[in-house]
């Protein structure tokens, strides 16, 4: 294909116009993100053992996981410094995942329901 052109372009798709860090400043940022991730994971563990199981705890976990995911995708995978259209191309299709979550949790949890199967024994046989 156009592999010869890659050498000419230098492959640096993000060099134009984005004021992103280089050298020691970038390395500092990378280590900063690592310590942030470490701290969030530590907090998750504390919550896991201190808080009682329930909706609040789950919401906190999911929230912290999304923060970690943001840092991995934006900083480690460098997406924050790519062009806006690439960011949208990657993130907008994830709306289908949101749909899947809502669809299956709202519509899919009838699976073990004895009302649907008529009896609990019948329900457990389905497994």
């Amino acid at each position: 294909m156009s592999t010869q052109e890659h050498g000419a372009h230098g492959g640096h798709g993000h060099d134009d116009g984005h004021a992103h860090l280089t050298g020691p400043a970038q390395r500092r940022r990378i280590w900063m993100v690592f310590w942030i991730m470490f701290a969030i994971t530590a907090v998750e563990f504390v919550i896991a053992f201190v808080m009682l199981r329930g909706m609040t705890r789950n919401v906190l976990f999911i929230g912290m996981t999304l923060v970690k995911a943001f840092y991995i995708v934006a900083e480690f995978m460098h997406l924050k410094h790519e062009t806006r259209n690439l960011i949208l191309t990657i993130l907008v299709p994830l709306v289908f995942v949101i749909w899947l979550i809502i669809a299956l949790l709202v519509e899919g949890t009838w699976y073990g329901d004895p009302w649907f199967f008529g009896s609990v024994a019948a329900a457990s046989e389905e497994l």
């Binding site: 372009h9 798709g13 991730m37 896991a48 912290m64 790519e82 062009t83 899947l100 299956l104 497994l127």
Partner: protein, 323 residues
């Protein structure tokens, strides 16, 4: 066709070719698109996990009670810190992601030696993670030392909170709340009757059974009453040890083990193939292929794959082990 409109297209139009869409190279763009598709696959697996868990007709397992093995601490000191090992695995994988991104940064500066160093660290991290996962699988498959009991039907279990002497069983079996080996004493004897259907209990060293999931998690059935439990005509119980795809000792729902193997196995195979890819590109870097090309973009591309593997683990860790 379109020959009449060709003069209408601007001379520097992207349709004429030679322009990188999104200012990203072909390889990088395709890696991103592949990662989006893989993200859909993993999301599907995790959503199915949630659906089966929250629609389960029997009680699910409590991950804090299942994943308690730590090398050396468990084998030699009989310690069972819950989720400690999984936390270590998370730390290892995030650490290897950091070394990967530091390698990518070194590649931007054409610093071959540093790229090699960080690649080696990343590969070691990946191998450590897969080894840890193998240890987890082994302990999961083998199970607890004495196995557990599935309480398929156990309708008339009486709770007796006050008596340390549970040999005086009134009714089919007695469920005793105790912390360690001392029974909690309360003033009034409250005799409730509960149905332990759908629960699972693990055999302890003294042959008593500790309930591992559900509302009565942490309660004990003493040794004498375990026998009574098994012989009573209304009860249906089953001794299970270890885990397979069709039955496991942690939950009466086989999907728990099933999904554990599938999700962590699918992720683990991604880690393993990532290690292989990292090794191949590391050898290329070592031979100077990137330097001759004039850019280290291949390092960035396999870096994307590696970070994706880490990202998936963050989600698996939350949904499988924490929630």
């Amino acid at each position: 066709m379109a020959h009449g409109t060709s003069t209408a297209t601007k001379p520097n139009s992207a349709w004429r070719g030679g322009v990188e869409p999104y200012k990203a190279s072909y390889g990088k763009l395709m890696m991103w698109f592949f990662l989006v598709s893989d993200a859909f696959t993993f999301s599907t697996l995790l959503v199915v996990y949630g659906t089966l868990r929250f629609s389960s007709p029997t009680e699910w397992a409590n991950p804090e009670n299942v994943f308690t093995h730590v090398p050396i601490l468990t084998e030699f000191f009989n310690m069972h810190p819950p989720l400690a090992f999984v936390g270590l695995m998370t730390f290892i994988l995030i650490g290897s992601s950091v070394t990967m991104v530091l390698g990518v940064e070194a590649g931007h500066r054409m610093d071959k030696k540093t790229v090699e160093k960080y690649f080696i660290l990343t590969i070691i991290g990946g191998i450590m993670f897969v080894s840890c996962q193998a240890y987890e699988w082994y302990n999961f498959i083998v199970g607890t030392p004495h196995g557990s009991i599935h309480l398929v039907e156990a309708p008339n279990v009486q709770i007796e909170r006050h008596s340390a002497d549970t040999a005086n069983a009134k009714g089919p079996v007695i469920l005793v709340e105790s912390h360690g080996h001392t029974v909690k004493m309360v003033v009034d004897s409250v005799q409730d009757s509960v149905n332990l259907k759908g629960l699972v209990g693990t055999y302890q060293e003294d042959h008593s059974v500790r309930i591992m999931n559900g509302k009565h998690e942490g309660w004990y059935i003493t040794k004498e009453n375990v026998t009574a439990l098994k012989t009573h005509p209304e009860n249906v119980v089953k001794d299970v040890k270890g885990a397979t795809l069709t039955i496991n000792e942690y939950s009466q729902n086989p999907s728990f083990a099933n999904l554990f193997f599938f999700i962590t196995g699918f992720h683990g195979s991604h880690v393993a193939s990532g290690v292989l890819l990292n090794y191949i590109i590391f050898m290329q870097v070592k031979r100077g292929v990137m330097h001759r090309r004039g850019h280290y973009e291949m390092v960035e591309k396999v870096g994307l794959y590696w970070h994706f593997v880490d990202l998936v683990w963050v989600f698996v860790f939350t949904f499988f082990y924490l929630i």
